[in-house]
Amino acid sequence: MIDILNLSIGEALVLTSVLLVAIGLFAVVTRRNLLRIVIGIEIIATGVNLNFIAMSIFKHGPYIDPTAHALTIISIVLDGALVGVALALTLVVYRKFRTLDTDEIRRLRW
């Protein structure tokens, strides 16, 4: 694939990360199941983290710039916290409404 498109590793990674973010945004906007939306958010997070690594490849120097990796690790931790809260809330939503369909949940209110 990389050979056909004639891309460098860095460009391929950037392209992948853009695709991942687009797929995640598409999932968040179009899916109606809460669990799928949470997975969509997680896909966006993966894409963003991949972009950090891709950006570090473009830096020229005697050694790889470790900042991107440090930032990625911190942001993975933050995403973990976000997804933990999201899944906990999804669980509460399911216990309360007995459904994960966002349209149903909206209809139940008022």
């Binding site: 939306i37 958010i41 966006i44 950006m55 933050l78």
Partner: protein, 497 residues
């Protein structure tokens, strides 16, 4: 370094909260005093430091390198920490009364302090990644706080909606941060500004594509938090669903975190001129002011009405930012900042007074609180004062900030924006005055006749905030002084290249 000290005070305080709560056991509601005391200590510490050693604009680095994280305590930080700590202090006192019937208060106060720690850290962050870390600390604890009463339907659903929209927003900010890192190699504000200055001379499209993408992503990401035009759909659900002290925090200061992000990291990029984001900001200001104002006219739920009015006020703040972009940076930024302060106080007082009403009558319907002023004058007075300040009555802070906003729009020749600002103020006055008239002059309803007495802590919180509002209303130079000093940092004089 005062920034590190404040973060230490609040951080150690946050992690001690569960321990103290564990030892308090059944008396965990006493934690409210501890939280309020921490805010007071932080505020007094900041001002003692400012009085004795002044405010320096020198950033504090962990190590001298473009990739180091950096903190700063300049006048912008001073302004925002003051606003955050005042509203946080008053809401903590209000929580003692309002949350008295709830359980799990140790968790509540820990999350409360975590959110305040995030907010204070935001105002002091000098590089984008430090900003993002505090942003997530603030955001994640605010999701849980919105859904804190998870045995009810509404908070859970609103919290989920808030989490999804705001989570995507913070990830878009993170994407912009990764692009900034790839483009510039540093995330520190001074390096970003230097880079923007260096590309002024060749303003061709190849050099501007990625900066334009970065600024757009930042505006969208911060915009979801600040709730301006296309992104405000979560706000009218989330703010009413939260417990009232948290509503006061969310509406008063958490949405201002988005404005803080725009002011700290986007405006210094925009003022370097190769990018022109004038027209989008102009359009955003107009739409954010006008559309929710019309929706607010037909609300019966008082917390929803206040939530829509928050969006309208974000639109007013955008007038100042538009004025900044269109050529009067000093007045524009100062006007936006003073409206941040006056709206934080006014909306904070409004939500706290509504919290008092909910505590007394357990209803949010405007129809059932007719005639409240005859039975419970203090709470009704606090609500009217908040509404009058939001409407812009002369002796209250809302008037002084709106006046400066309109002046700044006129100063940069944005006639339509100035006119629409006045028009929307008048439109908002319609429903504020209508509400005040119903509260004071209508016949008391049955619910009002059976209202309980408000908790003394609620009364104390309302009186403190009313006192602060009267003080700033009578001496607006207190607000202007802080706002103009901060604005001087945000709007550097034109550089000679």
């Amino acid at each position: 370094m005062v920034a590190v000290d404040i973060l230490l005070i609040l951080g150690v305080g946050t992690f001690l909260t569960p321990v103290i709560g564990y030892f308090l056991g059944d008396k965990e509601r006493l934690l409210g005093y501890y939280v309020a005391a921490l805010h007071g200590i932080a505020l007094i510490y900041i001002y003692l430091n400012v009085i004795y050693s002044g405010v320096s604009s020198e950033p504090f680095y962990v190590f001298r390198s473009p990739v180091s994280s950096a903190l700063i305590f300049d006048y912008v930080s001073l302004f925002f920490t003051t606003v955050f700590l005042i509203v946080g202090f008053v809401s903590a006192i209000h929580s003692i009364g309002y949350m008295a019937r709830d359980r799990n208060l140790t968790i509540y106060y820990t999350l409360y302090l975590m959110m305040m720690l995030g907010l204070i850290g935001l105002s002091m962050a000098y590089d984008l990644f430090t900003f993002f870390v505090f942003w997530e600390a603030m955001a994640i604890s605010s999701y849980v706080l919105v859904a804190f009463r998870y045995h009810l339907d509404e908070p859970v659903e609103a919290g989920m909606k808030y989490l999804i929209m705001s989570g995507v927003g913070s990830l878009l900010v993170l994407y912009a941060i990764s692009l900034t890192y790839g483009l510039i190699g540093s995330l520190r504000l001074d390096y970003i500004v230097q880079y923007m200055i260096s590309i002024i001379s060749f303003a061709s499209i190849e050099y501007l594509t990625i900066p334009i993408l970065i600024v757009t992503l930042l505006l969208v990401g911060f915009g979801i938090k600040a709730a301006y035009f296309p992104f405000w759909t979560w706000l009218p659900d989330a703010h009413p669903a939260a417990p009232s002290p948290i509503s006061a925090l969310l509406s008063g200061i958490v949405i201002k975190a988005g404005i803080l992000g725009i002011m700290r990291f986007v405006l210094p990029i925009l003022i370097q001129k190769p990018l022109s984001f004038g027209p989008p900001i102009y359009a955003l200001a107009i739409l954010t002011m006008t559309v929710p104002n019309i929706i607010a006219l037909m609300q019966d739920d008082i917390k929803r009405l206040l939530a829509y009015s928050s969006i309208v006020n974000i639109g007013f703040i955008l007038i100042g930012i538009a004025a900044y972009v269109y050529g009067s940076p000093l007045y524009g930024a100062a006007a936006s900042l003073s409206h941040v302060l006056s709206h934080a106080l006014g909306k904070g007082l409004g939500f706290l007074a509504v919290g008092g009403i909910i505590y007394m009558m357990e209803t949010r319907s405007i129809r059932s609180m007719y005639g409240l002023g005859r039975k419970r004058p203090l709470v009704a007075l606090a609500l009217s004062m908040a509404l009058l300040s939001l409407a812009g009555m002369p002796p209250l802070p809302g008037f002084w900030s709106k006046w400066l906003l309109i002046l700044s729009a006129i100063h940069s020749k944005l006639w339509i924006l100035a006119f629409l600002g006045v028009f929307n103020s008048v439109l908002a006055v319609l429903y504020y005055i209508w509400l005040i008239q119903r509260i004071f002059f209508a016949e008391p309803t049955e619910e009002v006749e059976h209202a309980h007495e408000a908790h003394p802590a609620i009364k104390a919180a309302l009186m403190i905030l009313m006192g602060i509002m009267i003080l700033i209303g009578l001496y607006p130079q207190l607000m202007y002084e802080l706002a103009f000093r901060a604005s001087e940092i945000l709007s550097p004089l034109p550089r000679i290249l």
